[in-house]
Symmetry: C2
Subunit: 350 residues, 2 copies
């Protein structure tokens, strides 16, 4: 990647001579990486059992294990705004050509495109994000738990100088040195597409912003576990719910809180939020000013002060500001409130 | 687009205080444009008649006329290295989301993906290039004939300060201010794929370089027409043939010289070369040093001196240096020497 710091023409948000109050880490790559593919593959149905009985999970797992499969895969589930159970794989590639080959080569291509997918009670969706490295930032509280894109070799943690102030997220995105990353678009009117029995593509605008933020409490014991489950998690759920309920107010088009599961299907003490905002500025505005996020922030600071290096909770996030074009948001036999299906221009494929 | 001149960290090739000896023009856009789609859609068969009798042309023309169709389309034909007749459409979009919608919405999607395309004597191919504006340059000798990407509104010609010296092509590509645009790849070994009756994707590497250069002699009369047909065209054909015959020596992976045709099918007094080079440096090296190109260059300079503003021939080119990923090179029931089918990683779709 080009050294954007050398190219900087937009002033950074970091106050002069600011020192981060606590250590925070970002991912760096030990070889040159230009572009990451982060792909969400999901299946939905009225019940968990219906998803389990379908062949989605076996097909995906076989495909992931095949040639050119992802560098990392995680699994989780959530119940969406329409009350449907969704199972989701999050798969990462650092080599876009391997991902292209994988989507083309594997049995998956034939299975995914089979017209039989349009019948029955199962909906399928994929949100395949193509993210230039300079339009991405990551933040990890401790360098001892790799998750998200950090699971792709050859990642390494480095201390970031950009944390602890409002605007640090933007400063951590290299392209922000030369690009305001703004959107020209007003919040789009949602539409109700006739999506059952059909296959839709949604065409998302430039600078759409994606956040995946995770919580890992498996190592929390005693009072830290109690604190997470009794105080922190309810605050997170409240923030998540607020974003899901007030899209136009917040600029948040879709919000999903997933519980992670093991390869074998057992629930992990881990969860992640996955949300789309109309722009980075919308995400910043919510983070900087909304009471639900401020409550999360304040509680996290308190815990940090109380436990310091002995803190057992691991939190992290990755944020992408998407470039124009090249993304794939596909919804197959899904209900009309799935993901970004209510928004933007769409194409009905069949 | 970001102002790359403001970001420059790589010295330009332009000699200090150099003034272009003759006026040359490039395209600028009167509104913000981020990315162009330049898409080549072709059909091949042993004879022209076989292509004419197939439904390719009607299907494509109907699709181009439909919603979200291209901003400009040109048509031509050529005979390829295997002796097959190829008819080709060159279509341009400045809005990648419109192109995505078009490929997805139109009847074309169903027709192109129908398994029946794998049978019979017709081969189909598409080479869909996604080009960030900062990885593109154009050069027109006179600002009175719009062709190529210049046919997309809202294009306008502006005088370029970067012409008339070796390295000017690179200097005209905005991203060259911050990026060497080099390839890490040695010239790839060609392979013979079993391509008849199958559908292949080819995955092209970063910084693959595309040139489309055109010649328009419809306005040439008298001695200028004679000069073009008797002297210039044979030189061009010799250069074209050399590139086609010595891929490894020149870095030129594919070279096609097409004759343009009217919408109604009549041949125009116009042609264009369309070539892929492993990198910009390969194209530069050939332009700067090979006798066949130097002969073209010298003859063009002579004619310029002789006729100046009265010159009637119109020549132009557009050069793209492709980013990593997001390109689509697809070959359906084609012979194994078609386009980039002999090169790079491939995926057999069916």
């Amino acid at each position: 990647m080009i050294d954007y710091e050398e190219l900087r023409i937009i002033r950074e948000r970091r106050p002069a001579s600011f020192e981060p109050p606590v250590k925070r880490y970002s991912i760096r790559w030990e070889r040159s990486v230009d572009l990451a593919i982060t792909a969400y593959y999901g299946a939905q149905a009225p019940t968990k059992e219906a998803v389990e009985q379908a062949d989605f999970k076996q097909v995906m797992l076989a495909a992931f294990a095949s040639d050119c499969g992802p560098a990392s895969v995680e699994q989780g589930f959530f119940v969406d705004a329409a009350g449907q159970y969704n199972f989701v794989f999050v798969a990462y590639w650092l080599d876009p050509l391997r991902h292209e080959r994988w989507e083309a080569d594997s049995q998956l291509h034939a299975w995914w495109n089979d017209p039989i997918r349009l019948a029955g009670t199962i909906g399928l969706w994929r949100e395949v994000l193509r993210v230039p490295i300079e339009r991405m930032e990551t933040l990890y509280a401790y360098p001892d738990y790799k998750v998200g894109i950090a699971r792709c070799p050859p990642s390494t943690f480095t201390l970031t100088r950009n944390s602890g102030y409002f605007g640090a997220m933007r400063d951590r995105i290299p392209a922000s040195a030369v690009d305001s990353l703004a959107t020209a678009m007003a919040f789009p009117q949602p539409v109700k597409r006739h999506s059952a029995g059909t296959r839709w593509l949604v065409h998302v605008p430039k600078n759409l912003t994606v956040i995946r933020s995770g919580q890992y409490w498996a190592k929390c014991g005693g009072e830290q576990r109690t604190d997470y489950l009794v105080k922190m998690r309810p605050l997170l759920e409240k923030g998540t719910a607020h974003l899901g309920q007030y899209p136009e107010e917040t600029g948040c088009l879709s919000m999903r809180l997933s519980r992670c599961v093991e390869a074998g299907g057992r629930e992990r003490d881990e969860s992640f939020n996955h949300a789309y905002f109309l722009s980075l500025a919308h995400l910043e505005e919510w983070s900087a000013s909304h009471r639900t996020h401020l409550a999360i922030w304040r509680h996290a600071i308190e815990m940090m002060k109380a436990y310091g290096e002995k803190r057992e909770l691991r939190t992290w996030h990755e944020v992408y500001v998407l470039p124009e074009g090249g993304q794939r948001f596909e919804y197959v036999n899904c209900h009309p409130r799935t993901g970004l299906l209510p928004y933007f221009e769409g194409s009905r494929l069949e």
